[in-house]
Symmetry: C2
Subunit: 405 residues, 2 copies
């Protein structure tokens, strides 16, 4: 049994580490997993048993905060953060808390196995949250919807439809709060009265981008705003990439709606694949620059093409949540067997011909024709007269103009 | 060594069989492979050693031609066909001729292995040709481009571009001569001054559909018109499906451009897969009915998504004919390593800050910042002053507005 004090000390250490070290640091993650968060914090602040890079990085942050050399620097940092969270109406959640989603810890695998260029793939030390929902529970049935900032009308339509449909079926829509696909997905979920989570790459208090301030505010009130970064942190380009791993880890799968060839969304999709989550991609016109990245990904193995909400749910839902196959409109002749269809094909529209002539045209035996034509008449496809059989005049498309199988 | 007489008798038998039996007949194909074409013809006309269906079907055609009971019915049929071909400016090619493409015989496999519903998958007995080119040679480097009759502007654009690009690179474009994607592909190849082959589902003399008469005429003059059906044969729905197997077998791979959920083009693609040819599909908007069939196919394993002519050629061309990867525009910061990129991210645009402050923001050590910033200055990304470093004002997009990886 873990004592409350222990939990509290663990929380404190992780909060301090999350502030002093830029998120995703693999070296720190390995250290915490090996000696625990409190001992890791002591080493990180004391500057022993870790690399010069990490020592130096922590020292730079401690100096900047005026805490370098303070014996209780870690506790002070954590206390400041806790106070700040309270003031901002936010809370900090760590692996020591019940709300922590186990899914985040899958990132250990991404960090260990990945042959990714970047080393900042370790799980978060802590996350800042704003919103009325529990994090783990909210992410239990969730899907990430990501894509280009420079969304087209098509991508906007798809993001909105998918998010609306997913949220309406009880799925949490996770995205990055950015312009374009992200905000459209968040809005689609909100409009459905569903749940949406925005994972930010900056401080929780920052309405970034400014154009999305109202939506982010609404997400903080009804859904969840999530970030690994302490208040005051600016969104940097590299932070977006680091953040993307959390978007991928948070959900059961990632849907990329639109993406240019260099879109950051491809990075999120790559993490999803690395984490053995479903990597789902929406196709688009091949002459749209905003689908180029989608098609590059779809040409890679392990990517699933999705065109409907049902297909997404089939991919990430429980066993049995299968998408209905797509059917064209049924046609009366669908139920004919190949021989019947072939004989019907040989019946002329206006002029009646004999069963023998029909057989010769169709390339079947006279016996087959004589046996089948009365059945076709019974089914309403042909009419007979003394001259033989002709098609009934009612709706049957011109032969050859159809695209039937 | 095969005597000319033998070749001639083999040709005669195959020509007669191709006329008397509806193309693709598996039973006939097996018989010919087992006892030879001449013996097969004798049995088929004599009505022994074959099924009642086949006996009856041949009898119906012989009766219709007034040849039932004639001892030399087979020779008479072949002679009539040869004469007809001469009058129509066409020629008949069989497996006994040098022009016969070995690729057609792969259909034996489709017939034998396939769990297709339909049994008319055997190779052609003979084909009627019109055009100045040798068949086998023309199909040596060929690709089939197929799709919906009810093509959209998008599909028309893609079919035209692909056919033009493929033909311009020396690839023969095979299609079915139909409205929509087919004719657009034929035209694209003709416009490129390239080679195109139309595989018809009716007699060679028939300009079907009438709207394509001029293009079919041009194909007959510059490329090749191909059909298995004797002159006078009407295009039937089931014949289109039977014909599709030849389109798939003729080429190294089939590209499906647009297709509704029930499009016959999906049938052609299915044959391509069955024949272990490349089954290539062009994606499109998910809200286009004419891409629904494409996306259904793309969700199946073994289908290759293609967006460029280069990708098609990479798929079906010789070793080394690789498509250039798609790159976004290069950016100066592409060459920075992760540490450099992270430090650059932390430099402010307008206000100079010290290396130590930059280190604290970036989460790197002061030493790394002090070492890296002069390099970034040398590369033209930042400028230094007594107060520290700020970004150079020249083109660098607002941080976070980019979609970079």
């Amino acid at each position: 049994m873990i004592h409350e004090t222990q939990v509290s000390e663990e929380r404190t250490a992780r909060m301090a580490l999350g502030t002093l070290v830029e998120p995703g640091c693999r070296e720190l993650g390995m250290l915490v997993r090996s000696v625990g968060a409190q001992e890791a914090l002591a080493r990180v602040i004391g500057g022993y048993g870790i690399s010069d890079q990490l020592t130096g990085a922590v020292r730079a942050r401690l100096r900047s905060a005026g805490l370098h050399g303070a014996a209780d620097a870690g506790e002070q940092v954590a206390a400041q953060m806790g106070e700040l969270a309270g003031r901002l109406g936010a809370r900090i959640v760590t692996a020591a808390d019940a709300e922590w989603p186990g899914a985040f810890d899958d990132l250990v695998r991404a960090s260990r196995e990945g042959n990714m260029l970047r080393r900042d793939t370790d799980p978060p030390m802590c996350v800042w949250l704003r919103g009325p929902l529990g994090l783990a529970e909210t992410l239990e049935r969730s899907v990430s919807v990501v894509g280009a900032r420079a969304v087209t009308g098509y991508g906007g339509y798809v993001a909105s439809e998918f998010a609306f449909g997913l949220a309406g079926r009880g799925w949490t829509v996770v995205s990055g709060g950015a312009l374009g696909v992200d905000v459209t997905a968040h809005r689609g979920a909100l409009i459905a009265g569903g749940t949406t989570v925005a994972v930010l790459a900056c401080g929780i208090e920052r309405a970034y981008p400014a154009a999305n301030a109202a939506v982010l505010e609404q997400i903080g009130a009804e859904g969840l705003l999530v970030t690994e970064w302490a208040p005051g942190t600016m969104p940097h380009k590299t932070r977006f990439l680091t953040r993307n791993r959390v978007i991928a880890a948070a959900s059961r799968g990632t849907v990329m709606v639109e993406a240019g060839s260099r879109s950051g969304a491809r990075n999120t999709l790559g993490y999803a694949r690395l984490l053995q989550r479903s990597a789902m991609v929406v196709p688009g016109p091949i002459n749209s620059a905003m689908s180029v990245g989608c098609h590059i990904e779809l040409r890679q193995p392990g990517t699933v093409l999705v065109t409907r909400v049902e297909e997404i749910i089939e991919e990430i839902g429980s066993v049995g949540e299968l998408a209905e196959p797509i059917h064209g409109a049924d046609r009366p002749e669908d139920d004919l067997d190949p021989l019947q269809a072939r004989i019907l094909d040989a019946v002329r529209a206006r002029r009646a011909t004999s069963a023998e002539q029909i057989a010769a045209v169709a390339g079947v035996s006279g016996r087959d024709a004589r046996r089948t034509l009365p059945l076709l008449e019974e089914l309403g496809f042909v009419v007979s007269s003394v001259d033989g059989y002709r098609l009934r005049s009612h709706p049957r498309a011109e032969v050859g103009e159809e695209e039937d199988r």
